[in-house]
Symmetry: C2
Subunit: 407 residues, 2 copies
């Protein structure tokens, strides 16, 4: 597997664009397009929130019933959620407009929105934006970057990743971009992720690979425990790499899945580390758990704790908070038998063992917590399963961003 | 039911004390005692956290197996959690010391701690503190207040409540004090609650009344979603009111339960409104839900959302966040059918209906959110059940307090 530059335009036959449409933000790009020159198999995973944004309803229909997909139109600024019939019509008009300009069918167009809930999108600006996107689309790496920038809301950096693998002598590329922070516990300003690949793979296996991989990537990050109405992750596969189509779970399938996993995990970590107001990426790895599910639940509980997050922000080795968050996760264990370690890139120190604080240096522990990437390792001593969750610290800026978000 | 002044010393035969012992805090009271001149029936509810503090383990034993209880010794500053055998010995020594000075049995003494997890309590200071408490105990209202002040950690005000009812011609009093913020989602610095009553009631019914009432009072508040290792709520009943002992669920039982509920609900709301860094009490009432459990789950989901809490702090009528938090609660409903209202003491305005924003004034909505007590009313239009949850807003000060808590 080779890590390469780029994002959604890394795979063959994909183009992208980013353009300003003044949906809500002024003087910046706020619309993006991903386009494939040839029809794609599409798979997607969407928010579990009962309140679903209009584009989520539209996309679920398209992914389930359209014979192929060829374009995605996304906007930032307004989420098009809690917008009733008018909101759904807005999706339809967007798809119609893009379809007309691109010479494809409207049911081959996915739409996505992120931003404030409850406002209607000014439809004329949106449709003008679609024109600009179609005019400016290109298959360059730069075009992919423009698209990645256009979907940002409170993100501080754009997020892309791409890798290449070989499948029966052909180079297959998987690339993607995303914004926001998560699928299970995303930031309200929504996780949107768009993956592209030139792999030839059946729609069923594409969906299965995506659905499975999300469990240990996007579903293992949390910024603030709020699951958005708009969360969307879609993958488009246009088959242009020319590999023999993957239709069974053969070696090629697992190679493809590994590439997909790399892109998903990389994007997920980028989102966690860029959580609103974050000063650090906060990783929790639980090892030797009894079951995989227990490992996931425990690691997610710590990552989601406001008090643990505030302790990271304060560089305060207040290990009791981590222990406490493990304790209320809903998984049974013996607190006397587990071990906690604080880790960064350079070192690992034992913090808690045998039911009491270990003999560690407060100064050294605090130094570790001041690293840009902080890891808490939890050894359960109960089995062989492990899981990793990613989040970020809780800072003044999180409150500032969210108390002022609409203004 | 008559609301009266006072707290744990309001009921007949109860004494209390608060004293400085320099456990961790300097120059303030940090130890409290509640004492009954006669033996009490005791009932308790304790943290659901797998990691339980030593005093919780001690108290569970005492409540389950001791024939009677007569005293509670509490300290603030150090939680005596993650302290192993030494921590449990500390509980035993405290009970022995108090028992010796009070002339009662050690297994009639409950202990409670709140503060930092993972540190050992300096036992000599704790035992000297017990001496001071026993010397200064008194049945005055002021003594109850001293005790309520001594158990505070990051609380900004002490919390007490008391009421009187009549049971077969006798005046029965129920009073209590608490600190911290909740049982299901308490602040890490722990919810401790101590209730006293002179009612004569069987131990079984005392426990049942407490366990049931907690569901709609202390379990319906949340400050930050972190369930402490130390949460404890105990009630002592010494029977001195002289009413006929309540041994069946007769009219007296329900009158007593109503009094208990008033004290619990009052203390719970006081805790929620005094959540760390809070500038407002945030109440969410869900009406016309299909089931009681659905109403509880929905209201708790909103109260626990960081984004809703930040919106209250910012006085931002960003109603989509409230809708979103309802949507991910795990309860099924039709977003087109529900209504949201923002309310304060003076008015109620419709914010969301028929799947879209109602025609409300942003200025008026923002004014309501700037009230010291903000209520969000959610009408589900699905049935007849309702529930109310209480929390607080999320401010810079929450982060400040928790990033710096140990220093």
């Amino acid at each position: 597997m080779k890590i390469i530059e780029g994002g959604v335009t890394a795979a063959q036959g994909f183009e992208a664009a980013g353009a300003p449409a003044a949906i809500k933000y002024q003087d910046r790009k706020d619309m993006a397009m991903v386009y494939s020159r040839t029809p794609c198999k599409a798979a997607g995973v969407f928010t579990s929130n009962v309140v679903k944004a209009a584009p989520v309803k539209w996309d679920k229909e398209v992914v389930a019933h359209s014979p192929y997909v060829q374009a995605v139109i996304a906007n930032s600024g307004i989420a098009n959620a809690a917008t009733g019939k008018q909101g759904y019509d807005c999706c339809r008009q967007t798809a119609d407009k893009a379809a007309g300009l691109l010479g494809i069918s409207a049911d081959a167009v996915l739409v996505a929105s992120t931003g404030v809930i409850g406002s209607q999108i000014p439809i004329n600006r949106l449709l003008s934006g679609v024109e600009k996107l179609v005019e400016s689309k290109s298959d360059t790496i730069e075009a992919g970057t423009l698209a990645a920038e256009a979907i940002m809301t409170t993100d501080t950096v754009s997020k892309q990743a791409a890798v290449q693998i070989e499948l029966d002598g052909k180079t297959v590329t998987v690339g993607g971009m995303c914004k926001g922070s998560g699928m299970i516990h995303p930031n309200m300003c929504t996780m949107l992720g768009f993956l592209t690949t030139d792999a030839a793979i059946s729609k069923e296996l594409l969906q299965e690979a995506l659905s499975e991989d999300v469990i240990d990537t996007f579903n293992m990050i949390s910024v603030d425990g709020d699951t958005s109405t708009n969360d969307t992750l879609v993958v488009l596969a246009n088959g242009m790499a020319g590999n023999t189509e993957i239709t069974t779970k053969n070696e090629d399938y697992y190679k493809f899945k590994e590439a997909l996993h790399y892109v998903n995990a990389t994007l997920a970590k980028k989102m966690a580390g860029d959580g609103e107001g974050a000063t650090a990426l906060f990783e929790v790895k639980v090892v030797h758990a009894k079951t995989k599910q227990a490992a996931r639940t425990l690691s997610r509980s710590v990552i989601g704790s406001s008090l643990c997050k505030a302790a990271i922000y304060g560089h305060d080795a207040n290990f009791g908070r981590f222990l406490c968050a493990l304790g209320y996760a809903g998984v049974d264990f013996d607190p006397e038998k587990i071990e906690l370690y604080f880790e960064n890139e350079e070192k690992s120190i034992l913090i808690y063992k045998d039911g009491v604080a270990a003999d560690y240096s407060e100064e050294e522990a605090s130094q570790i917590l001041a690293s840009p990437e902080v890891r808490v390792l939890v050894d359960m001593h109960m089995g062989d399963e492990e899981a990793t969750a990613w989040g970020c610290d809780l800072s003044y800026d999180y409150v500032k961003i969210n108390a002022d978000y609409r203004s």
